[in-house]
Amino acid sequence: MTTLTTPPPVPPSAATRPDGSPDTGTRVKTRDARAGWLFLAPFAFFYALFLIVPTLYMLITSFFNTSLVRPGLGSFAGFANYAEMFGRADFWSAMWHTLQFTLYTTPPLVVLAFVFAVLANRLKRGQWFYRLAFFLPFVLPSATIGLIWVFIFTPGTGLWPTVQGWLGMEPTAVLADPSWAMVGIAIATVWWTIGFNFVLYLAGLQDIPRELYEAAAVDGASPWQQIRSITLPLLSRTTTLVVLLQIIASLKIFDQVYLMTQGGPGISTQVALTQIAAIGFTDNRIGAASAFSVLLFIVIIAIALIRQLFERNQDRSA
């Protein structure tokens, strides 16, 4: 192996080359190449097997009548699976519910996380307490969150309808009501994941130099003015990141729906991924499920690309 060969004596001038590479001899080059691939091999192996191959397989099967219960790809279907998706009412309703979930969760998750982080950042004491309260739920398994919130929303006797009664409101059977079920899932999700955005904002706030606030205070700016004209604009980069990550995560929602409503009542909370799982694993129709997956995939990649472009732009202007 290459490690057994003694490295060629390095001339001092080469060792101190500014770009840090000690030598450009061909022997070192091939040694570099072989070592590079050896170091990458284990990761690349799993990467190829569990990211590239499934992606290609998904693309291929989306053009075939592949079934879970028959071996092989099945007959060629052309664009039939895609055409079927665009013609199915439940495809559009699943897409709409996914969008609905995104619209319900993104604004509160961004705005509340921003407010909590800005307020927490001003306070000298109790940081650990706020972090515990807001961030700890994010670390917990979705299954725990599901069990807690289904119980809280128990019609009639749950904590939610009870508090509604105390406040003189008409108690709602949140998860059993088609027009409220998605709201219930959104509330549980906001509670669960706000800590993620909270710590991203806290990290962003650390980067704002304190002198800016001090200077503004000297000029007589009120705390509210400081937040509006210093914090808000300087955190715009974090906000973009938070919003885009939020949208991508929302499009991939599966756990909360699976655990809290199973897509019900009726199909009122059926989202893209639960629908894909149903088509694939319940109807055994891999081809159709793949076509749906590819469409969801395209939407997610598009948003991820927007994020990359955005970051590149900001890097350039920074």
């Binding site: 990761f43 992606t55 998904m58 306070l123 917990l140 725990t144 069990l147 006797t157 800016l212 599966f254």
Partner: protein
């Protein structure tokens, strides 16, 4: 940019001159008032945020019959019983779930940290043909949503005969591209002098990686290890479809069956929710800073 330099300069001047003291008084008052309001508002929200967890904890410590009466009965019941926890420990499923979750999370974490750091080292330090292509492929991989790949992944594992084994949960989660890039970035920031010295002493790349680079990478290894561990522990969708044997179920999959099988035993249900969360609460208490750094630094989101 212009305003930034302007204000800092002015700040530098005023800090030296006590003349600026007077107009400050008013802002000082309003700042104090603002901070008090901030503390009150934030504390109200924090308590609100703690309520669901505390309510679940309280329910798990009552009897099933009290819990069935609803929220007012649970809240007004002052007695504490560990009956539900005893029931769960005796039924034994929870031990299997813990074991599965622990094995899959630990093994995935070790493999991910090892392979991602090796790959990150190669991308950071070594120049080899095909490097740019690998780099591009990996960057594309960041965008690929693993959840969407669950159907083809299931089929591949089925074809390989790996369904209902721990490997079915471990292998697909090993290639965490973000971890690879975090390591690469960290290594990019390390000074090269030590490595050069080691190389002149005749050390090969493997020895440099193991004895020079990795010992300097403690914080990033810890952060990546914890983030990976928590992510695998909490993953629902993958084990849900690739594990159907109840003895191999991980905590999330096991908990997902609880709702149906426990029916109206609300105290037992909440106790299992608490037990499923407990290891992560402990982990959070110990590694709070690392977890927050890891999450904020990588932007990994479920």
């Amino acid at each position: 940019m212009a305003t930034t330099t302007g204000t800092t300069r002015r700040n530098g001047v005023s800090a030296a001159a006590p003349a600026a003291q007077e107009p400050r008084e008013k802002t000082k008052d309003s700042t104090r008032a603002f901070n008090v309001t901030a503390a009150v508002v934030l504390t109200v929200f924090a308590v609100l945020w703690l309520l669901p967890s505390l309510f679940a904890l309280k329910t798990s410590l009552t009897t099933n019959s009290t819990a069935a009466l609803g929220a007012p009965a649970i809240l007004s019941d002052l007695q504490i019983t560990f009956g539900s926890y005893l029931t769960l420990f005796q039924a034994g499923d929870i031990w299997n779930w813990y074991l599965s979750s622990f094995i899959t999370s630990a093994v995935t974490t070790v493999l991910t940290v090892l392979f991602a750091s090796m790959g990150g080292y190669a991308l950071s330090r070594l120049r080899f043909p095909g490097r740019n292509l690998v780099f591009l492929l990996m960057i594309l991989g960041i965008m690929v949503p693993a959840q969407v790949l669950v159907v083809p992944t299931f089929q591949m594992l089925d074809a390989a005969g790996l369904l209902n084994t721990y490997w079915a949960v471990i292998f697909p989660q090993v290639p965490a591209v973000i971890a690879l890039f975090v390591f690469k970035q960290f290594f990019d920031g390390l000074p090269r002098e030590l490595e050069e010295a080691a190389r002149i002493d005749g050390a090969g790349y493997w020895r440099i990686y193991r004895q020079v680079v990795m010992p300097l990478s403690g914080p990033v290894v810890a952060a990546m290890a914890i983030v990976t561990f928590v992510g695998v522990w909490n993953n629902l969708i993958l084990p849900l479809f690739v594990l159907s044997n109840p003895e191999l179920m991980t905590i999330p999959v096991g908990l997902a069956t609880v709702q149906g099988s426990f029916g109206q035993m609300f105290a037992d249900i909440q106790a299992s929710a608490v037990l499923g969360a407990l290891p992560l609460v402990v982990l959070y208490m110990i590694f709070q800073r690392r977890i927050i750094e890891g999450v904020a630094g990588t932007g990994i989101k479920g």
